[in-house]
């Protein structure tokens, strides 16, 4: 029993890691504050579930298809909103989240507020572990490439990035699409783990929870996002074992934690120490610096 409980927490942790690193791509690396990340997760979850329940599509295929639909929504929402900056973008993503939630609440096929039940349990720790590895591996590859550097350049100075020949609008949309794709995978895994989904699983509170993980760990740092996800997944479970009352107030704790973080260490726990080697090891700076000095 105990073992099963720990495995369950670990599985949830894996899903949260995928969510946190994918939001970190959008908000941390590319600098576009999104308050609707759980919505992409929800789109992935509902798509994958409906494909399985109604059309009996195999698990893996519906998972990928769910992620693809989430990515498509990332594109659709990205095109008009990514012209907005800062606070305005945040508000637009928030609005998008509320719209999607209301659509899910009112459509017949999604089961309305009752949600969808009877989803087969497929997700387990192994599947999630593989997904986490794939997500982090591919994200790492993207971030050390020209594409990833462009994301960071946009965060650092959009005007200068444009002057360097980067089509900033396209790259911001691209970051949104990739982030939404990953979140869609997390959503599918979530649905096939808990076997029941309803629109409130993917509402504003979930988006804020993911954002808390990223901010806590350190914006623009994948290792930080992973640490943030770990803390905010394990901590509530730990608090629950201490006293069930405390776990009911976990959102209060999140809020308090963030306030304290903003005062004590606004850059997040791990920010400033890069998780990625900046260059593939073969092309290390020292080597070619020596060569250049001839």
């Amino acid at each position: 029993m105990r073992m099963n409980y720990y495995l369950q927490v670990l599985t949830v942790l894996g899903i949260n890691i995928i969510l946190a690193v994918s939001l970190n791509l959008i908000s941390g690396y590319t600098g576009q504050l999104s308050l609707g990340h759980a919505t992409f997760m929800g789109i992935g979850a509902y798509t994958a579930t409906l494909l399985t329940l109604k059309l009996h599509v195999p698990f893996l295929l519906s998972l990928i298809f769910g992620a693809a639909v989430a990515a498509l929504f990332g594109f659709i929402i990205g095109v008009p909103t990514l012209r907005l900056k800062g606070d305005y973008l945040a508000i637009a993503t928030l609005g998008f989240g509320e719209i999607m939630k209301n659509i899910l609440l009112n459509m017949k096929i999604t089961g309305g507020p009752m949600g969808l039940r009877g989803i087969p349990k497929v997700t387990n720790i192994y599947i999630v572990a593989v997904a986490v590895v794939i997500v982090i591996f591919s994200l790492n590859r993207i971030m050390i490439s020209r594409v990833g550097k462009s994301f960071i350049a946009i965060r650092e100075d959009e005007l200068a990035a444009e002057a360097m020949g980067i089509n900033t609008t396209n790259y911001k949309i691209l970051a949104f699409v990739i982030g939404a794709f990953y979140a869609g995978i997390a959503g599918g895994l979530y649905a096939f783990l808990f076997r029941y989904i309803n629109p409130n699983n993917f509402g504003f509170m979930k988006s804020i929870e993911i954002l808390c993980m990223v901010v806590l760990g350190g914006m623009g740092n994948t290792a930080g996002a992973i640490l943030g996800a770990a803390l905010l997944t394990v901590l509530p479970e730990f608090l629950r074992s201490v006293s069930p009352v405390i776990s009911q107030y976990r959102m209060v704790f999140y809020g308090l934690l963030l306030v304290i973080m903003m005062i004590v260490r606004p850059q997040g726990l791990l920010s400033g120490t890069s998780f990625y080697p900046r260059y593939p090891r073969r092309l290390s700076v020292e080597k070619s610096a020596g060569k250049g000095g001839q």
């Binding site: 490439s145 020209r146 200068a160 360097m164 980067i166 900046r278 092309l283 610096a289």
Partner: protein, 260 residues
């Protein structure tokens, strides 16, 4: 041969004409300086050429092609690079990455290629890396390649901006007050560097207040005042032009300028 030709350029901001019917031609291979008092419209002209603004009226042809209404990133790709008056580096990125980003418009790796890291991608990466080191070596920043850009001292940040612009492989380089805040020694190094760029075949359009620099390296000078062109010609002619002296140089500067 004319590299860039702007005609009748007018830019109106809320009723105020920042630029008023200005014509500009830049010949291939020359160093042209743009001078004038603060608010004369120099940076506005830069922003028109680089596509940050679209002019209220007028046209700009670069390599015989109209570039008005083109996006800044497309203009960069056509071969115009710029530096900024107030340094705009990618502060959290390394010096090397700043220059690598400069080559963005000359490379093509996409998301799928990045994830798969095919041999073509690795080859491109190596090429970009080597070229970036070459450029850093050229501006004398190769020892700082791994530093964060924001940690460089001011003069080196200015040089890094130049290196980053150079990395886009431009034909025309627009330098917005590159010597601002530099000490005399740094300014001398900069003069040498701009001279080298010109020798490499880069055409340079320069905004600068340092008259020693301007008079020293420009083949031609254009003077703006209140959004209008008041003079255009070789340095000897400009430093004796009554209108320019009245609007910008002043009597004291005239003596200094003639001394140098």
């Amino acid at each position: 041969m004319t590299l860039l030709e702007g005609k009748n350029l007018t830019m109106i901001f809320g009723g105020l004409a920042a630029l008023d019917s200005v014509d500009i031609t830049i010949e291939e291979g020359e160093i042209l300086s743009l001078i004038g008092p603060n608010g004369a419209g120099k940076t506005t002209l830069f922003n028109l050429i680089t596509g940050v603004y679209s002019p209220t009226r007028g046209s700009i042809c670069f390599k015989q092609k109209e570039i008005i209404n083109m996006k800044p990133y497309d203009i960069t790709k056509m071969g115009i690079a710029r530096t900024f008056q107030n340094i705009r580096l990618f502060g959290e990125m390394s010096v090397l990455d700043n220059v690598i980003i400069g080559q963005h418009c000359r490379t093509r790796t996409g998301v799928v290629g990045a994830i798969l890291r095919t041999s073509a991608v690795k080859k491109e990466e190596k090429k970009v890396h080597d070229r970036a080191m070459e450029i850093l070596n050229f501006v004398g920043l190769d020892n700082e390649a791994a530093e964060k850009a924001k940690n460089l001292p001011y003069g080196k940040q200015r040089r890094l901006e130049l290196a980053r612009a150079l990395a886009t492989e431009p034909d025309l380089m627009l330098l917005d007050e590159p010597a601002a805040g530099m000490n005399p020694q740094e300014t001398n190094e900069l003069i040498e560097l701009i001279g080298k760029l010109n020798d490499m075949g880069k055409t340079v359009l320069l905004i600068e207040h340092d008259m020693k620099l301007v008079m020293g390296i420009s083949q031609r000078i254009m003077v703006l005042d209140y959004g209008k062109k008041i003079a255009d010609g070789p340095p000897e002619k400009i430093r004796n032009d009554e209108k320019v002296i009245k609007a910008y140089l002043g009597d004291r500067t005239r003596k200094e300028v003639q001394a140098c």
